[in-house]
Symmetry: C2
Subunit: 442 residues, 2 copies
């Protein structure tokens, strides 16, 4: 089981910037646990994802093994989860294994044309992911790819899977009209909480991970995350600590800092979850996607001596699955010879702890999650721990962690300019604002 | 020339959250320009990088063309600049071109072992970059690679370049002792401001970009960035606006949001520059690395309705160098048929503007930098614009934008645990703190 160390948020350890046991007592943790357990939002359905059947996913994955490439088209939660799975569990995948995985999560035409240049569509399985079936970016890419298949005489029935709502939406209609392969996304599971649905699991299975390992990890951590007692429940402790550090000290930037390259995309997955779930009604917490040791040479200066704004969440790792002893060379050079007798894994682990200690000495709060290794099981634990903790944090702030009303305006303006029916007034508004933009410029 | 649009920070456009012309008049812009022009810090030497000779860089790049792989070992400024050049100017480089480029900017042993598995060292040119020559992570990787070369009977004289201080440091000593190829880094140029030194230029040249294009772009924008008049000077306007939005409204998170996948790493380059230069003396601004349209489905919710903390810097692009017309299909589906008659490049450009307008309507400040295309020339402009603007912002806050005193403590603790001479007391301290860590955990 992953471990959560939280000494470095306590005033006993870090001084005046820390929390007391009393601070925690002020929280109504029972209410939060009750909301989780009674599923007071339908969208808490994501917690039960570990119970799903995976046979359909495994069947489709088998088909994928016959292809050279797997092209995923999706954006936001439909892409960040799958990408973090690939990078964590099969680093440098495309240089080492097939099917190669391409994730197109933007509408940058050059990226798409580069992908078309790199892959033979005939040998490519395409997975289009959008729960609603109406995400503009995904719909746009889907239509272009569909047309390309048509031009090349490739059958979508063979080369395409649609991952969408089991009943509703444009994509489901197309699945039915054209008899396409498809996977369902439970309508109650919101995009950013969907990594352990078919959205992420199919990719996991395709890169050679048994997707049930992820679910098993998620299931095991869930058992701890529904415990009533704060001091036994890592999700509750995490959300309580972060909420209190903001309320008490205005620390509203949450840094996700795993000490392994393999979890860099995991940090980005977390950033969507955190920002979109909490940032509403003038409230929220700003996430920051980091990676150690690299960001010791980029962000650490600011965390140590900049604004009193940061709470750092370290992820430390025991087994890096590789190591190198430092050789017995350059003994005459003082700046190098101290490494002898040590190893690279030792160095990265010591740097992680040293950074934690440096922050602590300086009165800067941090939490540390330790995992034995980066594999499907522990990645499943991390996904579910943070998904549950994010919902809980939303409950503390009194916001709905499952909606995203703030993105509608931009969508509507886009619809207006693209000529979607019913959005004519948005086109006018767009044009009006565009003129203003040109007033001040250099 | 790039253009800077700043209507959406003005109260005339966005209302009470915006700035007035009077706000700008309160600033001593003359003083800032004077500091830049008179080079009141030696480290402002980076401004003159466009004048450097590039013949040596080009000679070494020619050697690189004989290799299958180019392995760069460096961290922080030594890696973020080169990586942003590769991703911007040669997307998906390793799937398309040789020499393949690997950038090892961490001490994760699995990453290194994966790189060793993927490349034949005999066919690899290795570039070790550290100005001081004593960066622990770079030194560590250097030693392991050196030993590997030795074991395989490969001569470092043939397969290695060292990029370091022209006279001082461990790496320079090794260059001299072993007669290695090397490139100099001007001792006055700080790591995070060094992308247009040999640090970044060699990589540019190796991936097939004429490095002088970057310098020409930088030179041209510099001419605008030293103009006395605020309203003519994009770097001064940028830094003044961001400083004022913080002072007046406490907006202390700066979001870098280019609308192209190719500038994703550029955002990360910016984040180091911004965080490490400004985050000191309890002051600073928190950067956030973003990319559009992707982050409309990740971060936009928080910028629109979350904390009143953000200033968004858009980078918009005119020519995506590729495009796709939406096909005339699925006419019966309302959620798709509005795309017909449009193109993918049109969509991404409209989404960029729609997001800008949605923020503006909602009273949220943003700036937009427009570039005609992503090429060496405009990337050079962006690098120098933001480098100069960062220094200027530091001057407004009254901090030294060229040092990073806050990272020393972590280094010293690491030295202590690794047994470096003179750091024995740090080892004790480390052990003492480590014990405390175990007090509170789940």
């Amino acid at each position: 089981m992953l471990k959560l160390f939280y000494s470095n948020i306590m005033n006993e350890i870090i001084g005046d910037n820390g929390l007391s046991l009393k601070d925690f007592e002020s929280l109504d943790t029972d209410k939060v646990i009750k909301m989780i357990k009674l599923k007071q939002y339908d969208e808490l359905a994501f917690i039960d994802l570990p119970q799903q059947q995976t046979s359909e996913i495994k069947e489709i994955a088998k088909i994928a093994y016959e292809f050279d490439n797997f092209l995923l088209i999706g954006i936001g939660g439909s892409a960040l989860g799958p990408r973090s799975i690939v990078e964590a569990l099969s680093p440098y995948h495309n240089l080492r294994k097939t099917p190669k995985v391409f994730i197109y999560d933007n509408v940058d035409p050059l990226t798409l044309s580069t992908i078309f240049e790199l892959i033979d569509l005939k040998k490519t399985l395409i997975n289009v992911i959008s729960k609603s079936g109406s995400t503009a970016e995904t719909a746009a890419s889907f239509m272009i790819v569909w047309q390309k298949l048509k031009e090349r005489g490739i059958s979508p029935q063979k080369n395409m899977i649609i991952t969408t709502d089991p009943k509703k939406g444009n994509l489901r209609k197309i699945v039915n009209d054209y008899n396409l392969k498809s996977l369902p996304i439970d309508p109650k599971v919101v995009g950013r909480y969907s990594v352990l649905s078919p959205v992420g699991l199919l990719t996991a299975q395709i890169i050679g991970v048994n997707c049930e390992e992820l679910l098993l990890g998620a299931e095991d951590i869930t058992q701890k995350c529904i415990l009533q007692k704060l001091w036994d429940n890592p999700a509750l402790l995490l959300s309580s600590a972060i909420y209190l550090l903001d309320k008490k000290f205005n620390r509203n930037v949450t840094v996700m800092l795993p000490y392994t390259d393999r979890l860099k995309s995991f940090s980005e997955w977390f950033c969507q979850l955190w920002a979109e779930s909490l940032g509403k009604q003038g409230k929220g917490l700003t996430p920051y996607p980091s990676v150690g040791t690299t960001d010791q040479h980029s962000q650490l200066q600011a965390w140590m001596e900049g604004l009193q704004q940061y709470v750092v969440i370290f992820i430390s790792l025991n087994d890096y699955k590789a190591d190198f002893q430092f050789p017995d060379i350059f003994n005459d050079i003082d700046g190098l010879n101290y490494l002898r007798g040590h190893s690279l894994a030792e160095l990265i682990k010591i740097e992680q702890e040293a950074t934690e200690i440096a922050l602590s000495k300086n009165g800067k709060p941090s939490l540390t999650i330790n995992i034995p290794s980066v594999d499907g099981y522990y990645l499943g634990q991390l996904f579910h721990l943070f998904s549950i903790a994010t919902a809980m944090t939303g409950f503390y702030y009194g916001v709905n962690p499952f909606n995203q009303p703030g993105v509608e305006e931009g969508k509507d303006l886009t619809y207006g300019m693209m000529g979607k029916k019913g959005y004519e007034n948005k086109k006018e508004e767009f044009t009006h604002y565009r003129e203003k933009k040109y007033k001040y410029s250099i």
